[in-house]
Subunit: 428 residues, 2 copies
């Protein structure tokens, strides 16, 4: 069993020695107390801090391909003229390269686990496994209320689920009915039963925009959350991305049913979807609040530290309370809570947790002076402070170098140019 | 005269050769057209982009010393228990080290000019000149309506102004009456006359919080902006930091008088001061809108790219308009407009402008794919993408290395520990 010793590393306020055995954190002791003997690898942590690897609880990885294609245009135009026509051109190989870049970016910024929803799931799956990341890969279900598509989806989902038995232990299968405005009631009920029978996580978009809320009122005579409740979806197996436009009744439903909600502040800002995420209310009601980046076509990056900062600042300003969301709690939102939603034993630097960790390079202005590590991490720094990443006990980045990253940048540029054909665009 | 040639570098959408002669940009031509001959330095720009150095139009540099000392506490407690007692302990040497760190951080994130307001101005001045940055250093004036302090201030201000004749050409003298709630009417009028007689920039805080607005209504029977107008302060020589709580009459006054306003989004969010900065309205009225970071005690970093992102996302979300603030315009807000306010000929990559520039390392996930450079810069990247910085024709950072940076980190930690005495704090 491989061993890694990290010596004299800052864990919040104290210096520790951290020993990893196999894929687990074996011990966390005061600095200088674990004897330096024959380990497979010893890392000098004296200028570094240790944090749990982040859990990005809502991503569409391969959308890195569309980073920057639809800027400063309204949402409707963005979807119809840019994203949808481009997505129609994608194949598994393209998705694979987009997801490879996403993995490079996530690893560079300290994320070890991500919860993905996208097409051609085998592409993303292959990328994540090659890069050594933990992930939840979901079969994405849209049916636009068409019975023929529903039958096709059923068949494909069952096949995908069957194949998932052969996946690596780092990868989990999930099902993603896209949203209440693209998936029929019949499908939601079918997916829910299939998921319950097979112990599968369900991942969806919920209450992202005001217009979704208005449409649900019109079509179903109730809120999006009440509608999912009526269909029996609300449970600790549900991951509800966004959960932004909620009444107090909705919050009570999400809390009473222990639903996992995912705040994606940068995406919500960028698309002008809204900013009054009800963090305190959801937490107090009993919901599990997690953090995500959403896809790069809306949020532009996959940096969880950038997302933590946006989340914290927004809570302060919309509540008119500079004390809103304590940093230790925010750190759990970005790691431990996401791990709980994804049923993974990570998110804490403590014996008995999986060895999914990131080391922070503190020889940077953001960490000087070091009055308060977490404040420096969240408010002063960004994902570029991450120096080394370990996932499942394996070093997947060291000194900011990920093997093969330059080749990935080059390949992605080629693929992205094929999807977004500028010559053709110009001719029009 | 020294020459630097940057070959084949991306300028927004096109590849260029850029030639610097002395402290000026001499020519900007299509890539491959400036013959590579004997220049003092040739930089291969093929994996880089070129942008104007940022102009940070409102900073309190030495407050890097207080990064992270007052987090998650209300504003009142923050000032009274943390910032003010610590500031009382500062001397010129401490300010010098705090400002040295600020310069390292600003250079690393692409800023070449900053507009500072702080105590012990000689400390900041010395730091900026040693680090090779352009700056506006101001004599900070608080009087708390006390006649004795007013007379002291007059004397000290005149002395400081006299000494400024010997400063380097990179440094400009200004006067900073702190704010309408800390400076008497008499002082404002005196400062204004002195500034007009001597052609000096005046830098103040204006309309930062709701309580400032309420207090002005109560004390003066008018808004903070109307009060400054009554005192004759509104002119293109005034730099009004924050300008956040404004009526439409206030906006008209600022516009008609060509006042320079400085948006500091991260500070306003962190202190929960507000977020509805009236960008469109101020611009359309004729005010010159600039961007700043404010001090590290509130905004935590001095990263202008981080501030651009916050500014853009806030405009989109509070206006409910994903198309708000075009990126090219935002780039000017962060460079050209600040230069105009500070009366400096920088902020554009074009012949005849001062050679204050930053080179972006594009071999990073944020710039892959390169569909739209400015969107990648603002929404995906952060200040850590800056690779090389040139100020006044001199290279002050190359490949992210600033000579002496490690020693500065170490000294600042020592100084900060002296100011914030943890042992003493613990005993209490």
């Amino acid at each position: 069993m491989k061993t890694i010793l990290i010596t004299n590393v800052l864990l919040y306020k104290e210096r520790k020695d951290v020993l990893i055995r196999g894929n687990m954190i074996h011990s966390v002791e005061p600095a200088g107390t674990i004897p330096v003997q024959e380990y497979d690898k010893i890392i000098d942590g004296s200028r570094k801090a240790i944090i749990p690897g982040f859990v990005n609880a809502h991503a569409h990885s391969a959308m890195t391909l569309f980073r920057g294609v639809g800027e400063d245009v309204p949402l409707d135009q963005w979807l119809k003229e840019r994203i949808w026509p481009y997505e129609a051109k994608l194949d598994e190989e393209m998705v694979y390269w987009g997801a490879k870049l996403a993995c490079v970016e996530m690893i560079r910024t300290g994320t070890t686990t991500f919860n993905d929803m996208y097409w051609h799931l085998n592409g993303t799956l292959r990328a994540a496994e090659e890069m050594g990341m933990r992930s939840v890969q979901s079969f994405t279900w849209l049916d636009n209320f068409n019975d023929e598509i529903i039958e096709q989806n059923k068949k494909q989902m069952k096949e995908a689920h069957k194949l998932s038995a052969r996946w690596s232990p780092l990868t989990t299968f999930a099902i993603s009915p896209h949203a209440i405005y693209t998936v029929s009631e019949k499908s939601f009920r079918y997916i829910n039963n299939f998921a319950k029978d097979n112990g599968i996580i369900v991942h969806t978009h919920l209450a992202e925009t005001r217009s979704e809320m208005d449409q649900a009122e019109r079509d179903f005579g109730m809120s999006p959350t009440e509608y999912l409740n009526k269909l029996g979806l609300l449970s600790p197996s549900l991951i509800a991305a966004h959960s932004l436009w909620l009444s107090s009744d909705d919050i009570k439903l999400l809390g009473d049913n222990g639903v996992n909600t995912v705040h994606n502040p940068n995406s919500n800002l960028k698309l002008a979807s809204g900013y009054k995420f009800k963090y305190n209310e959801l937490r107090d009601a009993g919901a599990n609040v997690c953090l995500g980046t959403d896809g790069c076509a809306s949020s532009n990056n996959l940096d969880m530290i950038d997302s933590m900062k946006a989340a914290a600042l927004l809570q302060k300003v919309w509540r008119n309370d500079p004390g809103a969301i304590p940093l230790k709690e925010l750190m759990d939102v970005a790691s431990l809570n996401g791990a709980k939603a994804l049923r993974i034993n990570t998110g804490k630097i403590a014996p008995g947790y999986l060895a999914d960790i990131a080391l922070v390079d503190m020889a940077k202005p953001s960490f000087v002076p070091n009055h308060y590590f977490l404040a420096n991490l969240v408010y002063a720094a960004n994902g570029e402070c991450i120096d080394t990443v370990i996932c499942d006990g394996k070093i997947i980045m060291e000194n900011q170098i990920i093997p093969g990253q330059d080749k990935i940048y080059q390949k992605v540029q080629e693929v992205a140019d094929r999807v977004v054909d500028y010559k053709k665009k110009k001719k029009k």
